[in-house]
Amino acid sequence: MRLSWLFGSSMEAHHLLAAYVAVWLIQGGYAGWIAWQWVCAGKELQPDLSLNSSDDDDL
């Protein structure tokens, strides 16, 4: 089945395409933001670990 009508010049086609693209972009963007924060929250542990090791060296 062809989807050429989806990329037509009518307002209906534009709005249908915009609705589907908006859903994918916003949902994907939010999931991407969580993934980014997840990685950042994991990295935040690194300085703490290095701080611990330097403390141990001092001891």
Binding site: E12, V23, L45
Partner: protein
């Protein structure tokens, strides 16, 4: 096998199945489902708009129940209360995402079908109010600097949940610009059987996606809470060492 590895594997499998379900559901909606007689192809927004709207009325209850547990546990069992709070903030964010998309897809559909982007009818206004309430909840969480932020947010979420049945019932209580209920609206309501697979798969796919977002966001919040606890403990240890 470590528990974290099991969670990660389950999460990856769930994610792959969810994306596959959404891709399949989108194909059904755009290619397989018949063109609606009155509105034409723009009616296909229905397959994204309605599942998104349904889920935006479901996640507030996750936030509501988690907030009640937080309020109940905050003095007796602070560790469990923190977990409930993590569920609450995750559900609030997912609610904002789904309700934003419900409003956006509704406006795109409304402009094409009715000729207007917006009207202050009962369904649209109560949905906008729901969105504002959960945005307020997140703003409170982000900007408040008192030690009672979680408690204030939990109380706000109890009031915000009251709007959910009003949104649901608005098209039953009042005659509005928004169409009458398609489901659970009486004997003459429902969709054509040929449209059901596309609709059903979209509900399933987006519900799976919502659960994925909720669990992933919850895991992130728990990780943040652990970091904050570690930092607080280190601070206390440092203070004790200085005192000695």
């Amino acid at each position: 096998m470590k528990r974290s590895h099991i969670y990660r594997t389950v999460g990856m499998v769930w994610f792959v199945l969810t994306v596959a379900a959404i891709v399949y559901a989108t194909r059904l909606a755009l290619v397989v489902a018949p063109t609606e007689a009155t509105m034409g192809n723009v009616q296909r927004i229905f397959y994204y708009h309605v599942p998104t709207s349904m889920l935006s009325l479901l996640f507030p209850y996750v936030n509501f129940v988690a907030s009640l547990f937080y309020l109940g546990w905050r003095r007796r069992d602070p560790l469990r209360a923190m977990a409930a709070d993590a569920v609450a903030i995750s559900a609030a964010e997912v609610t904002v995402v789904f309700s934003s998309l419900s409003l956006l897809t509704g406006m795109l559909w409304g402009r094409a079908a009715w000729g207007i982007w917006w009207t202050w009818d009962a369904r649209l206004t109560s949905m906008l109010l729901l969105w504002l309430l959960y945005v307020s909840y997140l703003m409170l969480r982000k900007l408040s600097s008192t030690g009672q932020t979680q408690t204030l947010a939990a109380v706000l979420s109890v009031f915000a949940a009251v709007d959910v049945p009003i949104v649901f019932m608005s098209i039953r209580w009042w005659r509005t610009q928004h169409p009458a209920p398609v489901f659970f609206g009486g004997p003459d309501t429902g969709i054509d059987p040929s449209m059901r697979p596309a609709f059903g798969w979209n509900v399933l796919g987006w519900a799976m996606w919502g659960v994925f977002l909720l669990v992933f966001r919850y895991a992130l919040e728990r990780r943040r809470q652990e970091r904050e606890q570690e930092a607080a403990l280190k601070s206390i240890e440092g203070t004790l060492e200085i005192a000695q």
